[in-house]
Symmetry: C3
Subunit: 319 residues, 3 copies
């Protein structure tokens, strides 16, 4: 029985570990795996524009051998007034087993998940959840650090409107990270536990600097007086690279507003792992789709020895 | 030699029976069939918006192993003023063997079919034809009744603008059904043979209640004074469920305007087979695509005994 | 190591010959070749509308067994202000090995090609380059003539705004053709070497008549006083068929503005090879994609004897 992925909170620590483990298996062996999901259908329903995440899921699905249906709102019968529930029930009647959904409305996915038998994968939900992004960020962090426990992870930008921030905060807090937030006061989120610091100090203290995208489309821009002043006060500018510790890594969910939240020199800095995050997203999503289609992931696919042998350590130390 | 499917009238009774038979074969054995049409190309040209039917065809094509090209008017060179004939001739020059077309203009498909060698499958044509919908409705009806002959089939709603009604009326009349129509006087179609009854009486008399979608986009809404009054006078409301015979089934081509032509309680009623229709559509369309690519369908793929053994009877009794 | 295809000028004569040779191999043997690029990804990024060329590439890619990603500007995150460079770096991080790009901006593709590791195939660039169109035109010409050397090739229409004209002129000139241009004075291009003749005389002298599409979308129409006067003065009308030599062939990149640059009788004339060009495009693009994914094409796949045996001669005589 396949499983939904609606929220980071739905995953046990053991399940998180299995997804990371399985993703590493796919990264390592993808040229050799057989297309295990041939003749099985997954639909990608992106009700908000997306290229990167949509392609990441599509590549993951196709590497697994699944058949992919693309749903684009502008050319769909949602314009006929059809509800999303009826669309999902239609898809499952047609034999579709999983739906990857991006949606701006918050809370709808969970309600839908109780009424359908196909499995829903949350690919971005309003301001609240983006679980596969948090999982791929975790995967990337784990490539550079033995464990998340005790890591000082700084999240910088518009915390309050960011689903990336919310899913990551939930995941990393649970795994024992020490969270620090930075950004305009009006864009902080009181509901999240953590320290708030000015950006210079935040970077100085960081093992991981997680920058957020300024979401022009999802917030009132009157929080921000001007791009120049935002960059100067809250952006990761080239001048601020001097605060970065030599072992720290820089993350961003992409696409970057270059020259706003990050300067080119920071995006392209050797300690920036932005394109590696994108690379890692494919393997993590392969694991998430396998979980949606097959249910609980198996441990036995890759021995601990193999995992250690390829440069990742600490994989069983999560708690 | 593959064959067009432009109209129900083009099919002999024997061909209809073969399509139903073959669809049942695909429903029964689809997990085990090999992808027989690998490296063969089908194009889906939906010149009117569609999700359900487009996905149904796409899934059918992919289950057969065919390669699928998606054509969307908004991003195509029809905006360059290219004619549909030149588009089809282009596609056939590129090796495409069949085109599934939805179009509002009536009569064009037949003219085109005489000038191209690729095979055209009508996926909805103006107000006049939707042959695969009628075939999947027949398939669904045949799952519940031994034969169509003598069945009282009630079609309710906007008959005059409905291609579903026209294709179904042509098919079911020919197979011996007794047709009853119901709906606003202005939306009846004098050219169709059958009895016209008020909705309560129509439902009381029905073995099959076939509801139609109110096509906001294809008619002048001034036929309808208000949604509330339409629902009260012509809709299948929860109150009217009391008229439904215990053996009768309810069909609708979907998507349903819930609360207009049908109440939620009717859509989700145990005797409603709406999502089963959608399910059946995939198998019927697999047969239609096979016919387009290969020509006449074979009988021998499934024995009569097998067909009877899986709960369908009367399959050879058509006349 | 795969290779970009940005411009005809990047190809050596030997490489051109190999592409033609390989295309013939695919035309001859495509039903029997195995899908050699399974689990390898190509993205089609058409930033200008296209049906014909996009489908041609998609079919070529799928015939090779590659996985295809479709990128449509209207639903992409380019609307988020993401640069094309970041899109390409994203795609290559996700495992995409080649990108087929159509773009109106001139010169950008070359700059991008120096910054990415995936291979770029130019599918139409502003007014300057459309190398696969020129290659498929060459392939078509070579089916009817022993060699390009000495052929009188007439290009008629809006030379100055046509990327088809520019790529073809560069290719055919180099291979020894004698170029003649015809069309409105304001739409000639002084930078191209060749004779300018009135259309009647041009057709009389032609071994190959290459008509261009009037690009309403890419030029100021005030060059043209009216459609009627353009057709009369510069179009290939039915009346001008009398000037056509019996051995000459007519080409057009399509889609044709019927009744403007060409009359129906010319499009559908036996000496018109327009739909054969479209057919040939698939094989040529298969060779170009193989080159992008694998690097230098092999000679050994088809013997000269086989090539001659199937009606093409002069294949090694290019110089």
């Amino acid at each position: 029985m396949g499983q939904h992925l609606l929220s980071i909170d739905d995953l046990t620590n053991d399940e998180i570990e299995k997804i990371i483990h399985r993703a590493k298996y796919y990264e390592q062996y993808h040229p050799f795996i057989r297309p295990q999901f041939q003749n099985r259908f997954v639909a990608n329903l992106f009700l908000e524009p997306s290229t990167r995440t949509r392609f990441s899921f599509e590549i993951a699905e196709k590497r697994l051998g699944a058949e992919v249906l693309q749903f684009q709102q502008s050319v769909s019968s949602i314009i006929k007034g059809e509800s999303l529930l009826d669309t999902l029930r239609t898809l499952e009647s047609q034999g579709v087993e999983a739906a990857v959904i991006r949606i701006s409305e918050e809370g709808l996915l969970r309600k839908l998940s109780e009424k359908v038998s196909l499995k829903i994968i949350n690919a971005g939900e309003g301001r609240i959840e983006h679980p596969t992004q948090a999982l791929l960020d975790l995967y990337t962090i784990r490539k550079y650090f033995h464990t998340v426990k005790g890591l000082r992870i700084v999240i910088i930008g518009d915390i309050s409107h960011s689903r990336v921030a919310h899913s990551n905060a939930a995941l990393l807090k649970r795994l024992g990270a020490q969270l620090i937030f930075s950004g305009p006061d009006a864009l902080m989120d009181d509901s999240l536990e953590g320290t708030i610091l000015p950006i210079d100090e935040a970077i100085q203290n960081a093992d991981v600097v997680m920058m957020l995208r300024i979401q022009f489309e999802r917030q009132k821009m009157n929080y921000i007086s001007s791009k120049e002043s935002y960059r100067a006060e809250f952006g990761f500018t080239r001048e601020r690279l001097k605060y970065l510790q030599p072992h720290a890594i820089i993350l961003h969910p992409a696409p970057v507003n270059r020259g706003l939240e990050m300067d080119d020199e920071v995006v392209d800095h050797p300690q920036s792992k932005i394109f590696e995050q994108i690379h890692n997203g494919v393997w993590v999503r392969m694991a998430v789709i396998e979980r949606a289609l097959e249910g609980n992931l198996r441990w036995e696919s890759l021995s601990n020895k193999e995992m250690y042998g390829i440069g990742i350590s600490g994989f069983r130390e999560i708690s």
